[in-house]
């Protein structure tokens, strides 16, 4: 259950990036970069306070998933437009 936090955060951050970049592969890399960036930055930031524990890590990732999910949902435009765009154009109804 807990390990789902990382892929979920990556997915949501990729979706957020897609709203701005509008390119699939670049958005995946952007999602990955942000996930890893948060991961490295968060580990370094927690370390001086002797706080690298399972609980703290899970708490921060849960918050991130909630915030990223909220941002994706709040942007109604993206929810309505991004998801159809993610389909392969060859399979779309319009084609």
């Amino acid at each position: 259950m807990l390990v789902l936090l990382l892929p979920t955060a990556f997915l949501l951050l990729s979706l957020l990036a897609y709203q701005h970049i509008r390119e699939r592969r670049l958005s995946i890399l952007a999602g990955l970069t942000m996930t890893y960036g948060i991961l490295v930055g968060m580990t370094e930031a927690l370390s001086p306070f002797h706080a690298i524990t399972r609980f703290n890590i899970a708490l921060i990732w849960s918050c991130l998933v909630a915030v990223a999910g909220g941002l994706v949902l709040l942007r109604r435009r993206s929810c309505l437009l991004v998801l159809p765009d993610l389909r392969c154009p060859r399979l779309s109804y319009a084609e």
């Binding site: 970049i21 592969r25 890399l29 890893y36 001086p48 002797h50 690298i52 524990t53 399972r54």
Partner: protein, 285 residues
């Protein structure tokens, strides 16, 4: 290839030398101490070599409670390298076929395939260099109107790369110069916040480890291990010896007879220059 590497990683526990001697043990030290601060270590590689890839594995272990997902760090890096290489091919003017070929080329590199299911960090470092270059291409596409968002991603990719492996700075440096020159020649006020964002993101991620190293070894790039794995002197003969030996290593197979032929050939190539294959100043013991 990606599916095979995924299955291989899932079925086999980590088992290579570097992972067993320092890449994985230090993760458990961090967990035990709840901190990244240096700890007393007989094997100094545990504390002086870049920890970026280990941070990912630390999160995998803390969140899942098992080592079984460790290999995903490198496997994801292989997929990211595939995507990034195809984007770089496009940045260089390649068509769809060229992009597919560039992506497929990643999975034709024996070391990349082997590492995709391992817990090393070389593939991760290579992937971050490629991601950094892909973002650089995108950032410099519109030189007169750089994007702060892309600057953030470019700096973050470089910062994570520098945290992952010490060799990343060498490969990333020319691209940093490229960004600098383009910013200078197409200077607009908009470049100032973008360059600041790139620098801050890079330094914020890379500097803490360098500070820790400096506090222990008096050198941000490490201590005994760094000295041991770098050339003791530079010169044309050292360059020739290392080039010949590296080429030879890439021709090695599991066939002992073939390997000894490659070895003899390498010795023969270096002999006319008076270079011995075991040149001490350029050989890791």
């Amino acid at each position: 290839m990606a599916v095979c590497a995924f299955a291989s990683g899932l079925l086999s526990p980590p088992n290579n030398w570097d992972s067993m001697t320092y890449k994985l043990p230090r993760i458990h030290y961090w967990m035990q101490h709840r901190s990244l601060m240096v700890f007393p270590a007989h094997v100094t590689r545990l504390i002086e070599l870049n920890p970026g890839a280990g941070f990912t594995l630390l999160h995998f272990e803390l969140l899942s409670g098992t080592y079984k997902f460790f290999y995903l760090g490198q496997w994801i890096a292989a997929v990211a390298a595939t995507l990034a290489s195809s984007l770089i091919a496009r940045g260089l003017g390649g068509n769809r076929q060229t992009q597919l070929f560039a992506g497929a080329l990643i999975w034709s590199i024996p070391m990349a395939v082997l590492q995709a299911s391992s817990t090393q960090d070389d593939l991760t470092a290579a992937a971050w260099i490629l991601v950094f270059i892909a973002f650089t291409f995108k950032l410099l596409k519109d030189k007169s109107n750089p994007s702060p968002g892309l600057s953030f991603l470019t700096g973050t990719a470089l910062g994570i790369g520098l945290t992952t492996k010490g060799t990343v700075d060498f490969f990333a440096f020319p691209f940093c110069l490229w960004i600098g020159f383009e910013a200078l020649f197409h200077f607009r006020r908009r470049w100032i916040p973008c360059l600041a964002i790139i620098s801050i993101c890079t330094l914020a991620l890379a500097v803490p480890f360098l500070v820790r190293n400096n506090s222990v070894f008096g050198n941000p790039y490490g201590g005994p291990q760094r000295i041991m794995i770098t050339n003791q002197r530079w010169g044309l003969d050292v360059l020739l010896a290392n080039t010949a030996r590296n080429i030879g290593v890439n021709f090695a197979t599991s066939n002992r007879r073939h390997n000894s032929k490659v070895f003899r050939k390498t010795v023969d190539v270096l002999a006319p220059f008076g270079i011995t294959i075991n040149m001490e100043e350029a050989t890791f013991p």
